[in-house]
């Protein structure tokens, strides 16, 4: 719309006609208070805090419902508006319990801030306040009714934002109260968005309530360790007697890739860190067959000695390495480098949850065709093939819903299941579970044997008429099917793609070369020359064994050692414990998982919230993980790998090419809780000085990644300041064979599960148990 010019508090402002006055003012730095107004949700005009004086209007007007018009003259802070706001606050405080000293929101409460600003300091009433008992709505959501100011944000974010509609308003007048539509409990996705959006302390979190005051925590913005969406989560941490504990997860930093959104896992499922079964000491299997705690030195010596012997006697091909979907890019990269240069094996793999290699290959030569998670917020049309984003990619589902609501985006869903996003769809097609590939051929106008009908014909016609399309596909697509799908998409005018995999760094695991045939950046092991040059060491050029082959080889007695980092293949791949009895098994993990229980050496590892590095979400958005918590006894996977290499006699400087300086401080623990390290890093980066001072510094490895994988060569400063950077070019530079074995095994997680890790979250477990009718995960997932 055309711009209009208007005056606010004497300032001339310009904004597109139709812009809400409150938005126009905020954009210009003029703060207008509001409780009920929330950008992106429907308008309420209920709190009356945003009243302003508009010339020629008889009454005060609400800035949240007034559109700017040419020549409008507005005053926002006059005696009249101040008095109106003060009176409103006085009324709110009339029944408010004023229990700020114990309230969770004390210190970060909009009602407190407004009272402070408008000075409603006098109690005008002597009658007893209206009191109601607090209610528990779910394991994670509590409602303290008297604190509620009825701004209806929770009702709207649940309904409009989440498409869950679990909340409503009960009664009328002064007895009005927010209530679950299921009377006494929430029938919902337990996302906690209602808590996040509550301007006061009425809605409180089951994990955090009454634990501390906001100012007694440090707040660290990092990336969620669970699904592949890579939401930014802000962890509230405080020191304990054995480290630093996380006591709150929320989305106070709304600048992340997830915008306003955070799901149950990003918000509550950090408690695995304090699980009673957390390993804090290395374990070695003793002569009696039992695992017993030993010192780090003993464990590292023992593991390195055995690995070295096997390598030197039987060669690297007798050793296998299985990596993780949740370690950082730097750790993942380091692991494959360790395997290839020090263990001298290409037997490297991980639990694959999507065929990223095939996707990367299909996009070779098509830079800019991979969609960021952010693109789902603005795409005009989205084709969703397979997957169930509501369960597996909640942030993606949020972006889609928001896009539909704000921009009327057209959503096309083709699925074999009744996925919830169908409610947002303009058109939907039911597919047999095995018909995805033939359906794509059908869309492309080829005869792939798909049984068409009127619905699918209309669907196809609508897709083909779209001028731009975002195609997101699940693990139903692998190998050549992805190529066919991408080719079809590229035949349309302007198409972007997203390949949906399962965990925080599943994408990174593939991109960083945790594959037997491909190096970082999907470079075939047969074309490893420039890697060898950078590494200063020859690399094995024969493709190694994949995960299943390694396990088979172990069963045959052909694999003498297996090094498992942050993965639990024993359950997911149905390994018979006896199959590994002749294999020297090293596992590093947080817990004694089914796999760790079989190990000869177990290293207690840190989790993603206890380290620094980068992760790549399933859309190719790179983000910085910041160390938030700490646990005495555990070490990062990065450090364990470096120390193992050191014990194996390798030169750590060659493995981690950190700076030549003399100040080898063990950077990972340096002041990270206070954010000092981050600020320090920002300062150094701004001055072209990077903190490459330690063999445990992940940035030294990130430097190398950026040299070898051009797509990862994105601006560092933006990452350091907590923003996401979409991989800038296509990943694949060198063609690899298209005929690769399909080893994708989706983990089938639901909203409340997160593989092996999720089982150690007491809160997730409690939620799963409270939802009696909830589908239980079909299989126990890995990682």
């Amino acid at each position: 719309m055309a711009d209009v010019t208007f005056t606010v508090d004497g300032k001339k402002l310009t904004a597109p006609a139709g812009t809400l006055l409150i938005d126009a003012c905020r954009a210009a730095g003029i703060e207008i208070p509001a409780f009920c107004y929330y950008p992106g949700l429907s308008l309420q005009a209920a709190c009356r805090m945003c009243v302003v004086r508009v010339e020629k209007m008889p009454k005060l007007q609400t800035a949240c419902t007034t559109a700017v018009t040419e020549g409008m003259v507005v005053s926002t802070e006059t005696d009249e508006t101040k008095q109106a706001r003060k009176a409103t606050i006085e009324l709110l405080l009339g029944n408010h319990p004023l229990d700020c000293p114990v309230c969770d929101a004390g210190g970060e409460c909009e009602l407190q801030d407004m009272t402070f600003k408008y000075g409603a300091h006098e109690s005008k009433y002597v009658e007893t306040k209206q009191h109601r008992e607090e209610q528990k709505w779910s394991p994670v959501v509590y409602f303290d009714r008297p604190r509620c100011i009825l701004c209806y944000r929770c009702v709207r974010v649940c309904g409009e934002g989440m498409d869950v509609w679990a909340l409503g308003v009960e009664n009328r007048g002064v007895t009005s109260v927010i209530a679950p539509n299921e009377k006494d409990h929430l029938d919902c996705e337990e996302c906690g968005m209602c808590i996040d959006i509550c301007p006061v302390g009425a809605l409180t979190s089951g994990t955090y309530r009454y634990k501390t005051r906001p100012w007694e925590m440090n707040h660290v913005g990092t990336v969620c360790t669970h699904c592949g969406d890579g939401c930014k989560t802000t962890l509230g941490v405080r020191p304990t007697d054995d480290g630093v504990e996380i006591i709150r997860g929320d989305n106070r930093d709304k600048s992340g890739i997830n915008g306003d959104f955070l799901c149950i896992k990003g918000r509550y499922a950090f408690d695995f860190a304090n699980h009673k079964d957390r390993l804090t000491k290395p374990l070695i299997r003793q002569a009696d067959g039992k695992l017993a705690p030993v010192s780090w030195e003993q464990a590292l010596d023992f593991a390195a000695k055995k690995l070295g012997e096997i390598r030197d006697s039987r060669g690297g091909n007798a050793i296998g390495v299985i990596g993780s979907n949740r370690t950082t890019n730097e750790e993942t990269y380091l692991l494959q480098k360790f395997a290839r240069t020090i263990l001298r094996t290409n037997n490297v793999d991980h639990h694959r949850t999507a065929d990223y290699a095939a996707f990367a290959a299909a996009l070779k030569g098509h830079a800019g065709r991979e969609a960021s998670l952010r693109d789902f917020l603005s795409a005009r049309a989205i084709l969703l093939l397979g997957n169930d984003p509501t369960n597996q990619h909640p942030a993606l589902a949020w972006q889609v819903r928001t896009n539909v609501r704000h921009n009327r985006a057209r959503i096309y869903v083709a699925n074999h299941a009744e996925v919830k996003l169908r409610r947002q769809a303009k058109a939907a097609v039911d597919l047999p579970a095995d018909a995805y590939a033939s359906f794509v051929e059908y869309l492309a106008g080829k005869d792939g044997g798909f049984e068409a009908n009127d619905t699918s014909a209309a669907f196809r016609d609508a897709i083909r008429q779209e001028e731009s399309l975002l195609v997101a596909f699940g693990s139903e697509f692998r190998g050549r099917d992805i190529l066919v799908l991408v080719d079809f998409g590229l035949s349309l005018p302007n198409t972007k793609f997203a390949c949906l995999g399962d965990y925080a760094n599943s994408r990174g695991a593939a991109d960083m070369g945790l594959l037997p045939d491909l190096l970082p950046g999907y470079v075939p092991v047969t074309a490893a020359a420039h890697f060898a040059e950078e590494y200063g060491s020859a690399l094995p050029t024969q493709p190694g064994l994949d995960l299943v082959q390694m396990l088979d080889a172990a069963g045959r007695g052909d694999l003498s050692a297996l090094y498992v980092v942050g993965s639990n293949p024993a359950t997911r791949y149905g390994i018979d414990p006896s199959a590994l009895k002749n294999t020297f098994l090293i596992v590093q993990d947080m817990f004694l998982t089914e796999t760790a229980a079989l190990a000869d050496v177990v290293f207690p590892a840190a989790n993603l919230y206890e380290k620094t590095g980068t992760v790549t979400n399933t859309y190719g958005d790179l983000q910085l993980v910041k160390k938030a918590a700490d646990k005495s006894g555990v070490r990062t996977d990065f450090e364990i790998i470096v120390r193992l290499a050191d014990k194996l006699g390798a030169d750590p400087k060659q493995l981690v090419p950190f700076g030549k300086g003399v100040r080898a401080d063990f950077g990972q623990t340096r002041g990270a809780q206070s954010g000092e390290a981050d600020r320090h890093a920002v300062w150094l980066a701004a001055n072209h000085l990077e903190p490459k001072l330690s063999p445990f510094d992940p940035f030294a490895i990130l430097d190398e990644i950026q040299r070898l994988v051009p797509a990862y060569d994105v601006p560092r400063l933006n990452l350091l300041t907590g923003n996401d950077e979409h991989l800038k070019s296509e990943l694949v530079q060198i063609d690899a064979s298209a005929d690769r074995r399909d080893l994708v095994l989706p983990s089938n997680d639901l909203l409340y599960t997160s593989g092996t890790l999720g089982r150690y979250s007491a809160k997730l477990t409690e939620v799963v148990e409270s939802h009696t009718i909830l589908m239980k995960p079909a299989e126990a997932a890995a990682d």
Binding site: L43, Q44, A45, A46, C47, R48, V51, P58, K59, L60, T65, Q83, A84, A87, T88, L91, L92, G94, N95, K124, Y125, V126, E127, Q130, I149, L150, V169, N171, R172, G173, V174, T175, S176
Partner: protein, 437 residues
């Protein structure tokens, strides 16, 4: 207390068929029924609106917005269906005029609705009765059935080629849904909460379609305008206040009831002549001129004509036509409390000033009346009401605030007399709480 009453000054226009059995369509037809709508069909939309503007009819719900003008706001072209809505959610205390219309002349509402539909091109009308009027629904439904049976509703009404459907519906008992946009929410099956405006109903109303919403009396008047002609109708009233309206006299009055009088009729005469004065020779203390939300008038302020402009000039409002007389035995604090109890109970709770303000006003007035008042209470009550006025989401907040401010301003001494633990000097002066019920 909706008595059928008369007086020589009564002009039986809207009440023309009251008490004559016009609930039956045959009787209605005998009494010139459904002639106006046929006239309107012949005139066409533009001429209908011109006629309405000429009549000077102003909305009888309380705000007094010119009806013809309101109709002219509806866009001619609309992708969505247009609707006519009859606001029969008559809930303003002291108002009982629509009830008589539904009870005695339901067809006039139907006929008026069809004419409004013709004027704006709507094909459907909804007749919404307040929840407490459920017993009138039967009468309304029967009338609608009869009109369908005669072909006055449905396809091709009166052989004109025009279709028009009508449906009646009742609320669930909420004053708030008398507010037009809240009524639409209610009719759509949602909580009775008003909508943000603009857009106004004439552009985006029921189910998102352009909607004409008028008070039941307003629409029941329409056929009579076409019966006698807009100009003739206008002449019955005063300048800019055309025609007659139903006044509901209640409270301390000798002959309570509903009287149809010309707009601009003198209030003093209405009380002492039409209504027969105050019973028992008692002195008049105050008059509520247009339903409980209108500021109270003192005896020295009642020598005014009862039209929107003159009552407005006297500092009150003509409102819904509910005129309440209060004699010298009435405790004004108790009356203010009784009024506030109503608004506190009926506040929908959507916005803060009304939801919280009415409750604190009620609590303060309760305590003050019971003798627990302190000095600052009186100013506090006024402060609260003043800070609600003009600040609420919908006019219900104003409706609660306006009379309260007037009570304190005009009867401050009575409030003060309740202080110092003295309590109410009047004992149960409102012998019948039902005065306002």
């Amino acid at each position: 207390m909706a008595f059928l009453t008369t007086h020589p000054d009564v002009v039986p226009l809207i009440s023309y068929r009251f008490g004559k059995g016009a609930t039956s369509i045959d009787k209605y037809l005998e009494l010139d029924g459904y002639k106006s709508v046929q006239k309107a069909i012949a005139m066409g939309p533009e001429a209908i609106i011109t006629e309405m503007k000429a009549s000077g009819l102003r909305g009888r719900g309380g705000a007094g917005f010119p009806t013809g003008l309101k109709w002219s706001f509806v866009p001619k072209q609309s992708a969505k269906p247009k609707y006519v809505l009859v606001n029969g959610d008559e809930s303003e205390p002291a108002t009982c005029k629509d009830r008589l219309i539904f009870e005695h002349d339901p067809h006039s509402v139907i006929e008026g609705t069809i004419i409004a539909g013709l004027a704006v091109g709507a094909k459907m009308g909804f007749i919404y009765l307040r929840g407490e009027y459920r017993y009138l629904l039967k009468i309304m439904e029967k009338a609608i059935d009869e009109a369908y049976a005669k072909g006055f509703l449905g396809k091709n009404i009166f052989g004109s080629g025009i279709d028009f459907e009508a449906i009646s519906h009742t609320g669930a008992g909420a004053y708030e849904v008398g507010e037009e946009s809240a009524l639409m929410e209610s009719l759509e099956g949602k909580r009775g909460i008003p909508r943000i405006r603009p857009p106004f109903p004439a552009v985006v109303g029921l189910y998102g379609g352009p909607t004409i919403i008028n008070n039941a009396e307003t629409l029941a008047t329409v056929p009579h305008i076409f019966r006698i002609g807009g100009a003739e109708y206008a002449k019955l009233g005063t300048e800019r206040n055309g025609g007659t309206r139903l006044f509901c006299l209640s409270g301390h009055i000798e002959k309570p009831g509903v009287y149809e009088l010309p707009m601009g009729y003198n209030l003093k005469k209405m009380i002492y002549d039409v209504g027969g004065g105050i019973p028992g020779g008692k002195k008049l203390k105050a008059v509520v001129p247009g339903g409980s939300s209108t500021p109270v008038l003192l005896p020295e302020e009642i020598d005014i004509g009862m039209d929107f402009d003159q009552v407005g000039k006297a500092g009150s409002m003509l409102g819904s036509g509910g005129v309440v007389m209060l004699d010298e035995t009435v405790c004004m604090v108790e009356f203010a409390l009784r009024t506030m109890k109503f608004y506190q109970h009926e506040s929908c709770g959507w916005c803060i000033p009304c939801r919280e303000g009415t409750d604190w006003l009620k609590k303060s007035l309760t305590r003050l009346h019971a003798g627990g008042g302190v000095d600052k209470d009186i100013d506090n009550i006024k402060y609260l009401a003043e800070n609600m006025l003009g600040r609420t989401f919908c006019p219900l907040g104003d409706a609660a605030a306006m009379p309260t401010i007037a009570f304190v301003q005009k009867f401050r001494k009575e409030f003060e007399d309740h202080l110092d633990g003295k309590g109410c000097p009047y004992h149960h002066s409102l012998e019948h709480e039902a005065v306002l019920a």
